[in-house]
Structures are given as structure tokens and as C-alpha cells.
């Protein structure tokens, strides 16, 4: 024998408007929502302006330069980068960095592991793996010359790196990688 079905009288469960129409309007909530909406659109506007200026990378504010006191090397990079997005790290080599027609460049391991160095141009004569980084030797005929390291950071976070040309002081820099 089947059990008798449970029945319940259907009734409005939302407040009536003017005691006539069951709408369930909540105008106070809606007024608060409109204020929230305005705040969100202002925030979206700020995000767009920041993006255009390069706060999130690939723009005017993201570009950075660092140089040694003896101008042996000028490092150009982006303070802010984006994960999986190509970026270039430029090393402009001055006359002071050239010894016996060669320039020796040391980069910390973080340039390869954390900033995802994918390619170095021009190709170095020799590459040496050290305990904390890599040393490259390039033949140089005249200065200034430029060495480019193509980056593609594999993950987000604040990354620190060091670049040094033999016979000159090191340059320490940081890059904030956005997801």
C-alpha cells in the first residue's frame, strides 16, 4: 500500500508590494547594490588606467633601467611581468666590460629557473654552470653591444635576480610576476 502524498497549500513567501502584488522587492538592498556597483566600476576604471600605464607589466611604468657606476653594463628590464608572457632582458655592454675582445657575464640561477630564460642572443662562446648561476662568455668586436635574454616566467611571485659583468660591480634587481 502506497503512502498518502504529503500536500502543502501553495502560498506567497515574499512580501507584497502595496498589499497587492507579491514581488519581494528589497529597495534598501538594491540601493546598497547600486553603490557597490558604482564602486566596482570605479575599480574597473582604475584597473584599465593602471594597465594602460603598465602597472601590470608591458608598459611605460614597467620599464626599468639599472647601471653600474663605471657604466660597464646597462640593464634594461621590466619591473612587472606576466606569467607565461614573453619579456626581454637587455644587457648593453660598455667599453669598460670588454677584456681581450671578450665579455664575461654572470646571471643568477633565478633568471633561468624563476624568470624562465628561454633563449640568449647572441649565442655565447661558452656557458658555465656554477653553484648559484651561469657564466657566459661572448666575443665582442666593438662597444656598445647588446645581449638579449628572452624570458617567459613560469609562475607568479616576486623574483630577485643578479647580473654581473666580469670586472664590474653586480646589479641586483627584482621583478614582480603577475599570474
Amino acid at each position: 500500500m502506497s503512502a498518502s502524498p504529503i500536500t502543502k497549500r501553495v502560498q506567497d513567501d515574499v512580501p507584497r508590494y502595496n498589499d497587492e502584488v507579491a514581488v519581494g522587492e528589497d529597495l534598501e538592498f538594491q540601493r546598497r547594490w547600486w553603490k557597490f556597483e558604482n564602486a566596482v566600476w570605479i575599480l574597473f576604471g582604475i584597473i584599465i588606467v593602471c594597465d594602460v600605464l603598465g602597472v601590470f607589466g608591458r608598459g611605460w611604468l614597467a620599464r626599468a633601467k639599472a647601471t653600474t657606476r663605471d657604466h660597464a653594463v646597462v640593464l634594461s628590464y621590466e619591473r612587472m611581468e606576466r606569467a607565461f608572457t614573453p619579456a626581454i632582458l637587455d644587457l648593453e655592454i660598455g667599453q669598460n666590460a670588454i677584456r681581450n675582445g671578450q665579455v664575461t657575464v654572470y646571471v643568477s640561477g633565478s633568471v633561468v629557473k624563476e624568470l624562465g630564460a628561454a633563449r640568449i642572443s647572441p649565442q655565447p662562446m661558452t656557458s658555465t654552470i656554477g653553484s648559484s648561476g651561469y657564466t657566459y662568455v661572448f666575443p665582442v668586436t666593438s662597444s656598445p653591444g647588446t645581449i638579449q635574454i628572452a624570458l617567459s616566467p613560469p609562475s607568479a611571485g616576486l623574483r630577485h635576480f643578479r647580473v654581473q659583468v666580469a670586472g664590474s660591480e653586480p646589479i641586483d634587481a627584482s621583478v614582480l610576476v603577475f599570474p
Binding site: N18, V23, D26, Q30, W33, W34, V40, A83, F84, S155
Partner: protein
Amino acid sequence: MVSVLYAVAGYFFLLLTVRVLKRRAGSGISMLDFVLIFLIGGVIILGTMAQDRSMTNATCIVITIGFLHRTVAWAKSKSPKVGALVDGVPLVLLDRGKARREVMDHMRITDLDLEIAARAARVPSTDQVDYAVLERNGSISIFPRQ
């Protein structure tokens, strides 16, 4: 693992963006809406998938989004507050034949939208409408004058 986090972030960011876009009177999908759907959908999928275009990653992301959607639907059914946050609340546009300008202006509803809704409800003119209600899905319900 990262893709799942990206999918969660993408889902809630998309929910917020779609929610703060005004409800469009009429609720149907126009050509303009198609531009929005395809462009936003296409952009968000690139960021969510990241570099991993494998079937495993796609499957995990689809499952994550499905799970999130089911959770939000369940929360909506349990709490009217969550429902109001996700879908909004119905709003009275015409009160005993008089337009509520504060609501209409904020919701970008014009007199023409009301006239179209009245005609769709087989009411010849808005003069003969007692109440008009903007529903959560963007449609306008018309209550003719008795």
C-alpha cells in the same frame, strides 16, 4: 592545480562582471550580448587554461566550473540573501501607474521599454498598466489595471 585555482578565480570574476552589468530590459539575447558572451568567454578561457592545453586540464577545469555552479545554485536555494547577491531582486517600475524614476534611471529602463513590455502583455498602452515589475532575469512583468 594552478588551473583549478585560475578556474575558481575566473568563475567568480566573471560572475561579478556579469552581475554589475545592468539587467537588460527584455531578457532576450541580442547581437550586442553575443559580442559580450563570445569575447569575454574567449578571453577568460585563455587565462584559465594557461599553458596547459591538455585534455586532462580541460576536464579538471570543466569539473571545477560545474562544481562551483552547482554550489552557487545550492546556496541560492538555501539563502534568499545569496539569491539576491547573485541574481538581484525584482524591482517595481510602475507603482499604480506612476513611474518610479529612481529605479528606472538606475536600471537604465526607458519609457519605451515599458511600452514594449505592455504591448507584449497585450496591453495597448502604459496608461492601462497598474504595476510593472523588472524581474531578476531582466523581463518586465505587466499587471493591467483592473
